[in-house]
């Protein structure tokens, strides 16, 4: 059984009448040592999914549905007290902007040792040693000096490393990374991804990677779930997805990556329109208004997740695309490629 098994997770904001479903029946599994990607553009429900799993959504005005079994217990029905003890020790999260995620007036060392004290009961010299060890582990040079410094004295990459050190301080079994590289420049992005990869490989941590960046997906994820308007529209193994994207949305995302080898003057291919939360899945495919392939069939009820081609490659579309996408990074999807393909998708 998977370490984290999310089944039909729904998150509804707002009261009766004006309710909006940010996450609408999302299911996926994350195994130990596996990297699972949640991909989609802004507003598709990626971050809300991660906050729901961590229990960090406000208790008022939010309704949760479905299940999220972590090691056999449903995270969604856990009390705040139980969740609090899980957070940091079993589950941990890395946020998008490392500067605003660190307390500006507290030295890095204090912020790291506080977690060690909270979950592992380390105090004084032992905690300080362990904190220096952790900073060293995530590749921060001269850790004993850095412990005394404040977040504004570190570079962007160092801050993200410090945040990762805090997240992995108690060897969590599941790490959720919510666009951990968005605020960093591309060379640092590659280093941070390399670090995350190392942690997963060496510690067997499960990693749920939330991103809008297909470069990150290509470099890191084993399994990819593409989200659109709160639903998974395509779910496949990384290689399968990049080779044969079948949902028009995933197809469009891959096509919209600028290519170095494109002929001069060839226009970029964006997906037209933008995400719109007034279009409900109940009336048909929510992507239909932006889709190049839609037919009348698309507007009759929610399309189901099917496996039209390969086993394990699920697509929520009645007219899946069959033609492959030509992308420059297709053959070598690894970390070095992310540095170049790492522009926003």
């Amino acid at each position: 059984m998977a370490l984290l098994s999310v089944d039909e997770l729904t998150v509804t904001f707002g009261g009766r009448g004006r309710a909006s479903k940010a996450v609408d029946g999302v299911s996926f599994d994350v195994d130990q040592g596996q990297v699972v990607g949640l991909v989609g553009e802004s507003g598709c429900g990626k971050s809300v999914t991660s906050l729901a799993l961590m229990g960090l959504l406000p208790s008022k005005g939010v309704e949760l549905g479905g299940r999220a079994d972590f090691d056999g217990t449903n995270l969604l029905t856990m009390s705040q007290r139980e969740l609090r003890d899980m957070r940091g020790s079993q589950l941990a999260m890395i946020f998008q902007d490392p500067l605003s995620s660190l307390n500006p007036v507290v030295p890095i060392g204090v912020q790291v040792t506080e977690i060690l004290q909270r979950h592992r009961g380390l105090k004084g010299e032992a905690a300080r040693k362990e904190a220096a060890h952790l900073l060293d582990r995530v590749g921060i040079p001269d850790p004993t000096r850095r412990l005394k410094e404040y977040p504004h004295q570190l570079s962007g990459g160092m801050r993200q490393r410090a945040l990762i050190a805090m997240a992995v301080a108690c060897a969590p079994r599941l790490l959720i990374a919510d666009e951990p590289t968005t605020a960093l420049d591309v060379t640092i992005q590659a280093q941070i991804l390399e670090l995350l990869k190392e942690l997963v490989d060496e510690e067997g941590t499960a990693l749920l990677m939330i991103t809008h960046d297909l470069g990150v997906v290509a470099g890191l994820c084993d399994q990819v779930n593409v989200l659109y308007a709160g639903k998974v529209v395509e779910s496949a193994d990384r290689h399968e997805l990049f080779a044969h994207p079948m949902h028009p949305y995933a197809h469009g995302l891959l096509e919209s990556i600028p290519r170095l080898d494109a002929p001069r003057g060839e226009p970029l291919k964006p997906i037209r329109g933008s995400i719109n939360d007034r279009i409900a899945w109940a009336d048909g495919c929510a992507f239909a208004p932006r889709c190049d392939y839609y037919t009348m069939e698309c507007l009759t009820g929610t399309p189901a997740l099917t496996e039209p081609a390969a086993a394990g490659h699920q697509v929520r579309c009645v007219n899946p695309v069959r033609e492959p996408v030509e992308i420059a990074t297709l053959d070598t999807p690894d970390v070095t490629a992310t540095a170049h393909g790492g522009t926003s998708a």
Partner: protein
């Protein structure tokens, strides 16, 4: 549970930062926020001057008894021979200034004004600092609770603040100070007057700082680092004391420094109105009352306590402004 610790040579190699840091390590030394603020503060001449005066005043107030003993000053010694009984004014020019009495003597009893200013300083500062502590304590506790918990707690505290702000403070202070009898709280005489003044001034000034702290807490509560710390298992009290409080120290410190001069003036006003410190104890406000009665015969008397109050208030204000600039991370 084992720690995720194992440094590999590969990880160090992958980071050019590691190589670069080795080179200039000795030159670059981390500075704490306090050190940065102190560097900024030192550059601000006005604030430094204010700070020096404040330190001198505090020393003078704390050591007022020894100073009086060493220089043989007695604030309550009557020198009737120095006062012209017909004019009800000190003999000689400039309010009776002499080497024996550098600031002159008071017109009624011929008491030494320097001694009385020194004696009055500890009363003024004690009342002002005490009252400030009381309002900061109440204001910070209630403000943080209102800001952090929100909901009905916020409603109750906010309405309470409105009520206190709508109170006719001066009238209340006058009637309360006048009606407290000896023996209240087991105190009599001077200690009782000081306690009453601290309570009255401090207890009615807390909503001002309470509002500032509440607003700051509300904006800090929504910051990402609070959510990040929650995502690592932090509990409510931890977030309040270890995440929010360090961010609140600077505004609280600045506001407290600016509240002290206000309270000095308020104490002087109450003493001036005759409900503060009772004679014969010297106090700056009390001296002003005295002087106001005799301005026709001895105008100079008014300037001594007036200048003492003026310098003290100005020094605290300069210090507070300088602290605000130095502690604001946005300023350069």
């Amino acid at each position: 549970m084992t720690a995720p610790i194992e440094t590999t040579a590969a990880s160090a190699e992958a980071q050019p930062e590691a190589v670069l840091a080795g080179a200039g390590r000795s030159q670059i030394e981390g500075r704490s926020l306090g050190q940065i603020a102190w560097t900024r503060f030192k550059r601000d001449k006005a604030a430094m001057a204010g700070g020096v005066v404040v330190v001198c005043l505090v020393l003078m107030a704390a050591l007022s008894k020894p100073i009086q003993a060493i220089f043989d000053l007695d604030p309550n010694k009557l020198n009737q021979d120095l006062v012209d009984p017909a004019l009800q004014a000190p003999k000689g020019a400039w309010g009776g200034m002499s080497w024996d009495h550098p600031l002159g003597v008071d017109p009624g009893f011929g008491r030494d004004l320097l001694a009385r200013v020194i004696e009055g300083s500890w009363v003024s500062l004690l009342v002002a600092v005490g009252a400030t502590l009381v309002s900061v304590l109440i204001g910070v506790i209630l403000g943080v609770m209102a800001g952090y918990y929100g909901g009905w707690v916020d409603s109750v505290v906010s309405r309470l603040m409105d009520t206190f702000l709508a109170f006719p403070l001066l009238l209340f202070a006058i009637s309360l100070s006048a009606s407290v009898q000896d023996g209240f709280w087991g105190l009599t005489g001077l200690p009782l007057r000081i306690a009453v003044l601290i309570f009255v001034i401090g207890f009615f000034a807390w909503p001002y700082i309470g509002r500032i702290v509440r607003a700051q807490t509300m904006s800090l509560r929504e910051r990402e680092f609070v959510e990040a710390s929650r995502s690592l298992g932090a509990r409510g009290p931890f977030i309040i004391f270890r995440e929010l409080m360090p961010n609140l120290v600077a505004p609280i410190l600045v506001y407290a420094t600016l509240l002290i001069p206000t309270n000095i003036l308020f104490e002087a006003a109450l003493s001036f109105l005759g409900v503060g410190i009772a004679p014969p104890q010297a106090s700056w406000g009390g001296m002003l009352t005295d002087a106001a009665d005799r301005y026709e015969s001895d105008l100079q008397y008014m300037f001594v306590p007036g200048l003492a109050i003026f310098i003290t208030v100005l020094a605290f204000n300069l210090l507070g402004d300088g602290l605000r600039d130095a502690l604001d991370p946005r300023s350069k």
